[in-house]
Symmetry: C2
Subunit: 485 residues, 2 copies
Amino acid sequence: MSDEWSLNPSSPVPLHRQIYDYMKRRIMNGEWPVGTRLPTQRDLAAKFQVNRSTVVYALGELSADGLIAARVGQGTVVANNTWSLLAASPPPDWNRYVTSGLHQPNLQMIQQINRAEANPGFLRLGTGELSPELLPTDQMKQVFSGSMSSRFSLGYSEPKGSLYLREIISAYLQTKGIDASPASILIVSGALQGLQLISLGLLHAGSTIFVENPSYLNSVQVFQSAGMQVHGIPMDRQGIQTESIGRLKRQHNAALLYTIPSFHNPTGVLMPSERRGELLQTCIQERLPVIEDDVYGDLWLDDPPPPPLKAGDRQGLVLYMGSMSKTLGPGLRIGWIVGPEPVMERLADIKMQTDYGSSSLSQHAVAEWLSSGLYEQHLHRTRAALTSRRDSMLAILSKHYQELAEWSIPQGGFYIWLRLVQPVAMRLLFEQALTEGILLNPGAVYDRQDQQHLRLSYAYASLDELERGLLRLAALIRLNSCREF
Amino acid sequence: MSDEWSLNPSSPVPLHRQIYDYMKRRIMNGEWPVGTRLPTQRDLAAKFQVNRSTVVYALGELSADGLIAARVGQGTVVANNTWSLLAASPPPDWNRYVTSGLHQPNLQMIQQINRAEANPGFLRLGTGELSPELLPTDQMKQVFSGSMSSRFSLGYSEPKGSLYLREIISAYLQTKGIDASPASILIVSGALQGLQLISLGLLHAGSTIFVENPSYLNSVQVFQSAGMQVHGIPMDRQGIQTESIGRLKRQHNAALLYTIPSFHNPTGVLMPSERRGELLQTCIQERLPVIEDDVYGDLWLDDPPPPPLKAGDRQGLVLYMGSMSKTLGPGLRIGWIVGPEPVMERLADIKMQTDYGSSSLSQHAVAEWLSSGLYEQHLHRTRAALTSRRDSMLAILSKHYQELAEWSIPQGGFYIWLRLVQPVAMRLLFEQALTEGILLNPGAVYDRQDQQHLRLSYAYASLDELERGLLRLAALIRLNSCREF
């Protein structure tokens, strides 16, 4: 539950008493209100790094005080605090609130991944971020010192985001063949927020969104929580297959198609120019608007990718999304959507209702990076580092996974989509690896039916960790593929 | 529509041709897709600062090209672009998407206010922000240079936000009498996002939220868009009246009560200690959870306010919200919610689904300001500046509004809630003032029924502007209160 408190082993106060005091304090000041479920004895022992008997002793004391109690089907819960005993009526039942909101909770496995990612102890084999050592933390300081800061403001920005930044992004998009005025650009707090604004502002419950199968979109609940269906379209080595889109569109009355043409998440596939043309033509013919997610486009390793779909869009069919999260740093929380101006105005109005705009510090930083040439220099370094990491991972795979799995060589982005030759009880593999401190991204996160893939990322863990983790993973895969299940 | 393009008067290209070229370009690359409604001739002439005949000429050319056409009931719309003529089927109807999303658009008057606030030309008499001259822009640079930056990271932060920042906020809350562990604190991108997370995570459609009448909550659609009702409870000079809460709660089956006890928005009222105790007792008795919005609490002018409701909450009944937007700068987009840990975990999970957390640059900046003492020094200066601004506004009101209006002396925050003695056609007054470049915040923004109040703010406009604006406003009020309507 708590993420910051720990026992003091050198204190004269016995450990069970420290645990008792800590838990009592949380209960007494209402941070753990009546009805809060406590972790199991085993989890508490692991959390406090003590023997289970120490936890049992502390819980016994709390129970004797009447503060906690065992409840059938719920485990141990907070039963009272002194104030609720004194008060005429019981306190509000927060559990009822917590379970009754409109928004769906994240999938359990994704919640586990989110939590493990917040714990620096895990070896992360699939994390879709640049390693902290590849982020330009020191250079970021320069942006806020000296003469570069003259355009910086601490006030609210315009509804579509800082005009200064939008002008710079407009010029940057020109280099990709996209002709977009600043008025057609909306700054968002990362691409995920862009998707949320689209779901709130342009679609209604019951709408169907087409995605590649597998797709990043299945790992977030943004459309599903708004009551929309996500329907997967098969992929091949060139990306989404276009033949069935027309028939399926009429069948499902689809409202949008979401695609990641460059260095697809999770498969790493790069859609070649010809397929891009086919996809755009199909969507024009079917009047099917497109969300083009291009957050990996700058991270090509061998050659630049073909121009985005948006560069060939003369009808305003494509909503194009970019972001700094995969290149400059996810902590900035800056992305952009490009599309028809009336659509951007609608989304900007909703954004103003949601969070009054994105951080002006972050907007300023991105504007300075893009306009000063620092961003391009950083990309240059990042591409070199990612190329070397990719090649190392491929070498490890060639050495240890020949009989276990199949994979393609990614031309950019972060991912290798590892296909296991033998089926494996993936949930079990995930849990076993987690116990050993290794965090995996199983295919089911991106396609509920998948039991045969893992998303590997060469971007996050250190080379040493990658080697260690992949070796151990190979052993776990061997262990599990022999079992009956 | 566009917010950045302007004519070049020194170009050899005639003005009507420049307008034609500009509009054709936007249409041809899909930024103004087929169906986009153009502004009226009058608005276009004002926007481009040309004679109406120049606009008429340019529109005539576009119409002759078949690119635009007049439509009954819609004005002039984009009718075609070359590509849609070439394509076998018409482009998607974005208008249908724009009008069919789940989320309600902002009230028209609020959209007008948002737009006018993005235009630096307006004199803003009611804006709820610190004047740019009061924001510590230069000092912000220091935070990112030198030794202070060691804790800074460009990566994602933990689901509840940077632990480092939450530890510092925990200590800061202690000074207000609030005992909250970092695990009970959630960092949000401003208090508005906090409200949105509560609406998505804890409530269901049809829930009723009690608010003070009038209330800031009526100026945002955050609960209404999620299908919830907002019900106003009467106020007096000590804040929300508590007698009717129990009866109304049973009548409406209310789910939450939202209150701003310190320097209420829009009335400026400070709830005294005794009323706070009554309110908390009533809510405990009725098991009615409370959202305590304390974003103005640090901006006391004469004496510090009584302790927050949260300081007396031992049951976990109160969700307490704070923010840097009113003190250090709205552009930071950093606020926090404090409440029972299971509730914060639910909200953190939804936040991860919404935007993957708040800007790490902004979180770092707030942590450094709070922990270094810079924030307290800044508050000291800000209080002195606001006191002097408040006193000046009161002097202007005493001199020019004696027979027109009534008001109280605010003890903190930004606002004077001006009650007009004679009823006035408020919508007309708002529009007239807007035509003269003066932006007002009418009472109806905070209470749909209100026709008698204006929210004045002494925080934003310069003293010179305040004097000029208030003088002109007095004349407009006199003019309108004489009219029949």
